[in-house]
Symmetry: C2
Subunit: 169 residues, 2 copies
């Protein structure tokens, strides 16, 4: 964006841009009782359409299981999510969004869109298109390109081994 930015790599600039984007959108979401982390997790439930296990959600969100547990506990308390133990395997818990959760997510989404809309509106159609394409690329890169439960990219890094934190003592 500014002069010295010419010297910065895509990775670098992407990093800064991401930080600012989140800081900006945070207010919109929090105004509705949805933090960024919750909104993201909830969207997996809502858009995924079907129940998902806690571990799978952790993997999808690329965060640790304890983090998801807490996220869910909070959202469950707010009535946005429901937790149901699996009938066959007593270890697993299935998560799914409640109608209220879905509604809130969509409301937050509308708000978020509205927040960026003014800016996006100033973009040329071609630019918007570029942005859309880039997001698709990013999603693929960041997630290893796949849908919820399959492998995790694993490219250059360790790829979130996932589901839990085993490593017992």
């Amino acid at each position: 964006m500014q002069l010295s930015d010419v010297n910065r790599s895509i990775a670098d600039r992407l990093h800064s841009a991401a930080i600012k984007l989140l800081r900006r959108l945070r207010r919109e979401d929090e105004a509705m009782g949805l933090t960024a982390a919750r909104a993201s997790a909830l969207s997996v439930l809502v858009f995924g359409g079907r129940p998902i296990t806690l571990g799978a959600l952790a993997q999808a969100e690329q965060v640790s299981a304890p983090t998801v547990t807490r996220l869910i506990v909070g959202m469950e308390r707010d009535g946005l999510v429901r937790r149901e133990p699996d009938a066959k395997d007593g270890r697993v818990v299935w998560l799914h969004a409640t109608p209220k959760g879905a509604k809130l997510l969509h409301a937050g989404r509308r708000r978020r869109v509205a927040a960026l809309e003014a800016d996006l509106a100033s973009l040329a159609p071609a630019e918007r298109h570029t942005l859309a394409d880039a997001v698709s690329i990013l999603e693929r890169v960041l997630q290893g390109g796949d849908a919820i439960g399959s492998k995790t990219a694993g490219k250059g890094s360790k790829g979130t081994t996932s589901t839990g934190t085993r490593r017992t003592a």
Copy 2:
């Protein structure tokens, strides 16, 4: 989320992508003792080239002054930043990166670039291009229209100037 992404808006997907991008890069930076917030703030000091007041940094980073104070206190303790009271106005404090800070920032940057770029390497040239274009667009959008060139051309730094949004009580 992947499955029905077709139904999600750019703003929405950008949000999720940003969250994941940060989560991913976080590890790289933290491995060096630089959190995302610190790296971002430090880069303003380093790329800005010259001292800046705490308040200006808060504005550039679009966070509250207390948040910056804490960030700086930590980095000062680590020898990455120095604080100097203004000679004329006893209220203001000037901040600037130490050589150590600049070095660490660049090292972190190299690391970050390596991590992300390893993934980006798998992209087709055209895709990389799309990404680069998108980042530029994003930067412009996120700065709230504080156009790159519209401001003084000599004064460059990352997020300086800022948009004057927010601000305290």
